[in-house]
């Protein structure tokens, strides 16, 4: 073919590609990405019990395998809202992703597992040992705080081994490749029940009631349709209240959506000493988490509080 034709084809291809990357898609009113975890129960409940519909919203709740994928989907425009660990949200905002945290969904529930026969009884016993965690995540920052509390330097006094999946860490613990594994409910309770491991501590011991997972919305949703976000918050608040009062039904919903575990186990893991489903969130705790991430070198830029959090929509949703 001639050079001109070739050039035109190339240009057309280029335009197609950029167009495809930029254009909006056909979607329900709000597409929301959540994980399979205890503290995402409010979304399962709201979805199942129709709380969003009651607010006049058409919300599609998608179960997504990883936090990173949720953020990436929001970047692409496939999702407009989601629930991820606060650390993921902070890292994303720090890197320039256009989202904002609007509410909490769950607190605590994370801690350290060790093998029953390991002889490790306190955090101080972890000196010189290998600890499995997911770098930069909610399993990492509170862990470092807990270690510091116990007088250990997370970089020097223990060897952090970084994984990307919860299940891999448990396997590594079981086979003896690591001495402690940072993990979350309901895995913690399950390991204890299985007998070979035990819970060394919960991070809430050194940071009581620390934030775990948060709800966020994309900037475009927040600026273009704030009323829809308020309606979403109303549904969320209702679901949170329900979860706090009905642990058994909550456990049933979790088992149904996760397609794993059993109701008695999950119900036991929802115990208030282990974790708490909650919608309230304060700027102070968000700033503290961001500050710690920055201090530990997990994020490069420390975002301002108003960049990270907007509670006005949650306030408007409250009676």
């Amino acid at each position: 073919m001639s050079k001109r034709t070739a050039f035109r084809l190339l240009l057309a291809a280029l335009i197609l590609v950029t167009g495809a990357l930029g254009c909006a898609r056909d979607e329900p009113q709000i597409a929301m990405g959540v994980r399979t975890a205890n503290d995402h129960a409010p979304f399962y409940l709201a979805d199942k019990l129709g709380y969003y519909q009651d607010e006049g919203l058409d919300v599609a709740v998608h179960l997504v395998p990883s936090n990173t994928e949720i953020i990436e989907a929001v970047q692409r425009g496939d999702l407009q809202a989601g629930a991820v660990p606060i650390t993921t949200a902070i890292a994303a905002i720090s890197a320039g992703v256009q989202i904002k945290i609007v509410a909490m969904t769950g607190r605590a529930g994370d801690g350290l597992l060790v093998r029953s026969d390991s002889g490790i009884e306190t955090l101080a016993d972890l000196r010189g040992r290998r600890v499995a965690t997911i770098r930069g995540s909610i399993l990492d920052v509170p862990l470092r705080v807990a270690l510091q509390d116990a007088g250990l330097d997370p970089e020097r006094d223990v060897t952090m081994i970084y994984f990307t999946k919860l299940g891999d860490m448990i396997q590594a613990l079981e086979t003896g490749q690591v001495d402690a594994a940072s993990n979350t409910e309901p895995f913690m309770t399950q390991v204890e029940r299985d007998g070979w491991g035990e819970i060394l501590c919960y991070y809430s011991a050194s940071w009581p009631d620390h934030p775990c997972c948060v709800v966020f919305v994309s900037e475009s949703l927040r600026s273009e349709r704030p009323d829809d976000v308020v309606a979403l918050m109303r549904g969320h608040l209702r679901a949170v209240a329900y979860a706090q009062d009905h642990p058994h039904e909550t456990a049933e919903a979790i088992v149904e959506y996760l397609e794993a575990f059993d109701v008695p186990l999950v119900e036991a893991s929802l115990d208030e000493h282990k974790m708490r489903i909650d919608a309230e969130i304060t700027p102070q705790e968000v700033e503290r988490m961001a500050g710690l991430m920055h201090e530990f070198g997990l994020i490069e830029r420390l975002p301002r509080a108003d960049e990270l959090l907007d509670t006005s929509l949650l306030r408007r949703a409250q009676p």
């Binding site: 280029l14 950029t18 990357l21 930029g22 936090n67 990173t68 953020i71 970047q75 692409r76 890292a91 994303a92 720090s94 890197a95 320039g96 992703v97 256009q98 997911i134 770098r135 930069g136 995540s137 952090m160 081994i161 970084y162 994984f163 990307t164 999946k165 891999d168 396997q171 590594a172 086979t175 490749q177 690591v178 997990l298 994020i299 490069e300």
Partner: protein, 260 residues
């Protein structure tokens, strides 16, 4: 084309690509979150280099590749020659190798971690399986396709079987072995990046997966650039070795090998 000319002729396309890469994200035509501009990635590369991080990660990946590839070659060359020359033995083992080869490196990861734990060993294992089977089959094919008459010639010159293998078979097979080594090195390099995405604390694959989870796309791209560049450099290194040892090969004419 004469020497320097054919190197230059590829430059305009390369430069155009770089310019497009810079302009599209900056102008907003392409969302910069998805594709940071070229200059930002370049800056990130510089930053990583200066902080020593990049060298640390490169070193870790290169070490694993060297070990894994080295082991794979150490197995594939002698075994390949043996199977290539002994038809019966080859028929017995060929199905087993044939079944193992298509299993891609990431598929081996769970097993590798289970058997070898975390750190260098599972990565080296994954690289090993990623390249050994392919090199083995390639060397076998080369050995089977070797002109048997060279062996015959050496025997009629009084060489023992052992001498024939060492002095004739190995040099005769060197060209195809070198080709297989280059292919195997390429496969090893790809396998190491996949293998480093789990349970290691350094390496280019690790660097990229961590960057992804912290939404640092410019680091991901910087990593890809380094992976591409190192992969290219490794291949050139082997090519140089090939030229040095096989200077006689390029000039082999067809009628040397065919019967009149």
């Amino acid at each position: 084309m004469s020497g320097w000319r054919h190197r230059i002729v590829g430059l305009p396309a390369l430069l155009l690509a770089l310019v497009v890469w810079e302009v599209l994200p900056r102008s907003g035509l392409l969302n910069p979150v998805f594709m940071p501009p070229c200059s930002q990635v370049a800056w990130r590369l510089w930053y990583l280099l200066r902080s020593g991080e990049l060298l640390r990660h490169c070193g870790a990946s290169l070490l694993r590749v060297t070990l894994g590839f080295g082991l794979a070659a150490a197995l594939a060359i002698p075994l390949g020659v043996l199977l290539g020359l002994h038809r019966r033995l080859y028929l017995r083992l060929a199905p087993l190798v044939g079944v193992l080869r298509p299993i891609s490196p990431p598929a081996w990861i769970p097993l590798a971690i289970l058997w070898f734990g975390i750190g260098n060993r599972p990565a080296v294992f994954i690289i090993f399986v990623g390249s050994a089977a392919s090199m083995l089959l390639g060397i076998v094919a080369g050995a089977r396709g070797m002109d048997r008459r060279w062996i015959e010639a050496s025997l009629t010159l009084g060489a023992s079987r052992r001498q024939a293998v060492l002095w004739v078979v190995l040099p005769a097979l060197l060209p195809s072995v070198m080709t297989q080594l280059r292919i195997g090195l390429g496969l090893s390099w790809m396998a190491v990046i996949a293998a480093e995405m789990v349970a290691v604390n350094q390496g280019l694959g690790y660097m990229m997966v961590q960057a992804r989870n912290l939404f640092q796309t410019d680091t991901v791209l910087a990593g890809m650039v380094v992976v591409g560049a190192l992969g290219w450099a490794l291949d050139r290194l082997l090519l140089r070795l090939e030229r040095r040892f096989l200077g006689w090969r390029a000039e082999l004419e067809p009628h040397d090998l065919l019967a009149a």
